[in-house]
Amino acid sequence: MEEATTLVTPQMVASKGVWHSFETSFPITATDIRRWAIATYWGEMPPRLFWDEDYAKTTRWGGIVAPEDFNPFAWQLPRELTEEELRLQGAIPGQETKKGDNILNGGQVDSFGARMRPGDVISSRSRLTGWEEREGRNGLTLYTYNETEWTNQRGEWVKSRVMTLIHY
């Protein structure tokens, strides 16, 4: 099999810097927030700020807020994934993996703005901001940098994330 000389695709070149994947969440519920906190604190009681409205009212936040890492886009309605989205799912049992199809989350930088609260509807958009390739222990390896921005229904900035994906 011929060795890949680059993992950069024409689609990547064409999409660099272009906002895509516009998405709107369902309204966040107090149950969504409580379940998130229980899962991430599993082994101990999660902080009251995430499930006790009476307590949360006494804090600077004035009511329940979501943990900074809360994902309001979990459990969107199922839809057919694009070829690129399927590729980003990584290895699948029983299917041969092509060079570049193995993907790891290399890291991320988040800046946090307005807290997410029950009732909030979050809008998201993403763009590929750049990439670099180098030889690693898994051979040719591609690092892509992807920026995602969230705002709420009041137009307030909620979060920005720059994520590094490692393709090998």
Binding site: T40, T59, P93, D110
Partner: protein, 142 residues
């Protein structure tokens, strides 16, 4: 309970947030984050990706780090930024400890009192898996 800007010193270490990551932790996180990805659930897929078996989600380590910062800073503080590199894989039954050390203090243009921290998530061998940095705005006694 809250911490105050004036009481924090460079070199302070925050209490670690520690969890053994078994399928119970991974499955609960997969459920709330809808993160049903084969490499996190299926040993065969994990091996196909060059690992000993299914491996943990970077996002769960991320959550543990935020939990550590939050538990230390209290509900009147505000996490402004978190950066983390996922340098090592979280294998099943690893014991992860999210840790952070204060490296700087500053006052922002808007008057926010900022604590700068160096962070990492160590495994049971004391090996850092996820180096990075965080910025937390904390209340002042003034």
């Amino acid at each position: 309970m809250s911490i105050f800007f004036e009481d924090i010193a460079v070199g302070d270490q925050i209490p670690a947030f520690t969890r053994k990551t078994t399928m119970m932790e991974w499955s609960r996180f997969a459920a709330v984050n809808e993160e049903f990805v084969y490499v996190h659930m299926d040993d065969e897929a994990g091996r196909a990706a060059g690992q000993p078996g299914a491996f943990g989600m970077g996002n769960l380590r991320w959550a543990y780090m935020l939990n550590a910062l939050r538990d230390w800073a209290g509900d009147e503080s505000e996490i402004k930024e978190l950066a983390m590199q996922f340098r090592a894989i979280n294998q099943k039954d690893d014991i992860l400890s999210a840790k952070a050390t204060v490296v700087d203090k500053s006052v922002a243009d808007d008057g926010s009192n900022l604590i700068h921290l160096q962070i990492d998530v160590e495994n049971q061998d004391g090996k850092g898996t996820s180096p990075g940095r965080a910025i937390v705005a904390v209340p002042s006694r003034a």
